[in-house]
Symmetry: C2
Amino acid sequence: MTGSGLRARKKEHTRQLIQGHALRLFLAKGYEATTVEEIAAAASVSHMTFFRHFPTKESVVDTDDYDPMIAKLIAGRPPAEHPLTAIHQALLEGLSTILPQGRDILLIRTRLILTTPALRARLWENQYATVRLFTDALTARHTRLSDLEGRVLAAAALATVTTSLTTWVDCDGAEDLPELVDRSFAALRRGLV
Amino acid sequence: MTGSGLRARKKEHTRQLIQGHALRLFLAKGYEATTVEEIAAAASVSHMTFFRHFPTKESVVDTDDYDPMIAKLIAGRPPAEHPLTAIHQALLEGLSTILPQGRDILLIRTRLILTTPALRARLWENQYATVRLFTDALTARHTRLSDLEGRVLAAAALATVTTSLTTWVDCDGAEDLPELVDRSFAALRRGLV
DNA sequence: TAACATTGGTTAGTCACTAACGTAAGGGTG
DNA sequence: CACCCTTACGTTAGTGACTAACCAATGTTA
């Protein structure tokens, strides 16, 4: 559907063009200080074209295709595994495929998101949807899990990763992200006893 | 400072007036469908007066004075108690003082927040600050706790309460909120083993 | 009472975002 | 090839949240 054809390729091209200029300008001038009109002008399109490709200004930044991938990985973990361990391991698997090429981009984008109030709000809003996604993946894997249990664990796990990411950005990527994730999940377990 | 004086009382009065009309209109017509201008007109003030009392349209809804209270309760729990239990119990204590008079208002306001994307985003954004608050309360109480541990546990606990609140609203307040909190925290513990 | 501070109104903006047009070029039919 | 339908994009003219600058009125204090 969206694959070949001259038109589809052109569309994808302008999309990338807009996103590229947007991120460049955000890093250079800051998110709030950059207007949609400027981005559109830089990409040589009208501001309407911008909104046809991205529903909001925020959405240029948070195109995370990661969530569905992680959800699949969760569903694929062995059923005997405890729910939180399953999410933990699925996250590590996901990171091992993302980090090799995408480490720097992830760091820059995450920092931009965490330091910009509007984008931060959007991030949390996405988590709302992500919790549902992870919950379904959990309950599909482990049928004895109630919806409430699934939601609690998915939400707690997401909060844990977010904490890892926050810490990672705080130290400017100096620490190893998978290790931070391990330590965060260990902290979660230790807090309960 | 903000207590007596005719002027201070008048100011508080208009503030309450604006907030009252705003919530009424939000419930009647929906959040998005209600403009600031309408709220201001209903309260017989200019839209500038609105923004002098509330920095954003969203802020009319989420005046939660609960966080500092809960933070104090956390800090007051016995040091021997495990961190997550301390938060759990502090939350129950807090609810026992809020629920008697404020149950219906809490339910209505929470539903409004959870069903409105813009307000939901704002809620998550607040949680960012709340995590810091709770983390400090935790580490003050339990000096052996690292910052990462504190943050993970505070974030996980918050995610757990939020799940309880979401479930509470989903069933329209039919279930007992403190009991839902208990079950959510139990679910969190069970997920780890 | 005079000087001050603060609340609120007025006006004129900026910026994100939308709706209703129109146009030109892609792409599958006869 | 000619035909028409689809679609990406532009133009224009809005709406609504939010801000800044300036001004009027009214508590508050010396």
